[in-house]
Symmetry: C2
Subunit: 400 residues, 2 copies
Amino acid sequence: MNNVVFVFTKLVVVISLLISASITFAGELITQKQSFHLENFTTFNGATLPEVNVGWESYGQLNQDKSNVVLITHHFSGTSHAAGKYNVNDAQVGYWDSIIGPGKAIDTNKYFVISVDTLANLNAFDPNVITTGPASINPKTNQAYGLTFPVVTIRDFVNVQRALLTSLGITKLHAVVGASMGSMQAIEWASAYPEQVERMISVIGVGNTDAWTVASLEHWARPIRHDVNWNQGNYYNGEKPTTGLISSLMLITQYATYPEFINSVEPNHTPLQSGPLNDINQTYKVVDWLEGRAAARAKLADANHLLYLVRASQTFQAGFKQTLESGLKKVTAKTLFLPAKNDLLLLPYQAKLAHDTLVKLGKRSEFALIEPKSPSAGHLDGLTQVASKENTIREFLATP
Amino acid sequence: MNNVVFVFTKLVVVISLLISASITFAGELITQKQSFHLENFTTFNGATLPEVNVGWESYGQLNQDKSNVVLITHHFSGTSHAAGKYNVNDAQVGYWDSIIGPGKAIDTNKYFVISVDTLANLNAFDPNVITTGPASINPKTNQAYGLTFPVVTIRDFVNVQRALLTSLGITKLHAVVGASMGSMQAIEWASAYPEQVERMISVIGVGNTDAWTVASLEHWARPIRHDVNWNQGNYYNGEKPTTGLISSLMLITQYATYPEFINSVEPNHTPLQSGPLNDINQTYKVVDWLEGRAAARAKLADANHLLYLVRASQTFQAGFKQTLESGLKKVTAKTLFLPAKNDLLLLPYQAKLAHDTLVKLGKRSEFALIEPKSPSAGHLDGLTQVASKENTIREFLATP
């Protein structure tokens, strides 16, 4: 009987998804990955990619005049899977499912919510990710690009999204909303294409990457570059630089979280564990946990892609002008900044600077801190605690 | 004429130092490195080192009943050069010269201030450091210890200091004062040898190393362990793991400082530097600065020593008992905790926990935050801004 229900469910879901990009079934938001293909894409720094393929998904229905679009731009280690499930039986929902869905802050009964995998997406080997990056085959050489892939920027991620939206006949965004590296894309949309963006929400974000953040990102790249298997990015036919990639992902987890979070993982931690106390080559349970988590993530990730996302994040300045102020000058969108109070990765002063600059330029900008809930996840409170700003987001989206 | 003055100055200094460990000359505190030798030292975990040699220096005069001793215990990348100069012409003074000297918070007109290089001191190749660690020659094999050196703990650093003090006839400390890893030693003194310690000051410190901090320290070790030249610690007859050591020191500088500090290094930083924008293998000026600083420090440092200091810091719990509370139970010293408000390495909650535990146990403990001065150096405000607590320290030392 259960099998019959399951098959029927699947059938309904498949048929419905053929008609629409997403459905709600038994209270669950169900979506599917779609693919967008683009030829001869020119990057911000003038290189040409013969082809670009990216995945995307959507939730809710596009209205007739295509005026209800909310674009979600994803974070460094994220994908376009922002909400819902692919199957009712999936164990996981998209990362911002707490605020995207029927009746939620970003209400899919009202808005057509769409999200796109970035270029050089970290999770290149995730079957649910479609991306073009250093691990992709260059159609001109039939070899993986490796480091011949051009440096890509936040502007390029935005331009790929814009090409997809154009192909769907969408010329205006009711809002663009993103967390962390996603917030860079959101503010870049508002800066580069002001006539297309009505509202912008930056969660745990920055308006430009300062020297401190450039340096902090560089530490993520070094373990990969120093892995002997990295081989200047040419590892696709041999051993992968997995050790370096794991070290990098361990470091990212540390500073994307917060002491309370890591301490909650090992509530019985003691510095006097016999292994590490007696043997320099043994380590702690919490380190094993951190390494295990990183190793699991490394299986789906590409090391070169990580380097390219580091660089995309390092090269970011809203509007890509001489200064932050000149880059934000054309913004017409109403903006909302939601940094996380305990963020150790992108400290709240950075969102404050972008907000203050907009205010100084006479723009309409709002600012509120995401308060932690114990155990605080630091930067990641922007993903896990974002629903604490549900009303702020709902109202921001509902008003002109 | 200047030469004559210089030679005369040197002569006076040398003669004076033969008589006393330090002198004040033309307003400058002049000290010298001395050496302490110890045989058959047994470590906390039961290993025996056939010999230990450590450097030490002192400032001020030991009084007749040897009751005016203030021991300074040094931080991870520090040495026993806490104050003064070796020569009037030295460009640099010891790291805490702002609070140690004639008339200063730790007044060398009143106190005999002494400091000792730790075991496995990071700066093994600094001509002014004397230390025994993995880079030392094992007299039993005539080879460098490498990883055959036993894990050493904060308790071992304290026990070496205690042996030196005993050799000088000193049985009581008016106070023990340390920053960061030095504060671990200070609180360990008060916990393990309560009858010998009257006052304890912990600057930017912790009472025990929690899971978060164990993990954050592990990131310092990984670049060294993954450097091909590291070779399981056997590199003393070949190429050194300098690349890994530099990456580690870069990471340490990042999180021992603060955004304002790194941003002040490159006030004209722009994310749009042409090199990194166009070439994945080029990098930013601020990264070059960070790497250059690390490379300079790496010349004097030993990679294995760094691993052993990481481990000494990871294995720390005051008193080395089952819990922090049981470890602090025997403390009789009056204690003072001075964490730095902007510390990203050892966040102030850690000093607060040690302080609160002592208060809960009915001990006399005080707590005050070191406020930043722009540009804040984060954790390192404990070194650079400590003089802002001059009066607090002076009064704490002057009262019973």
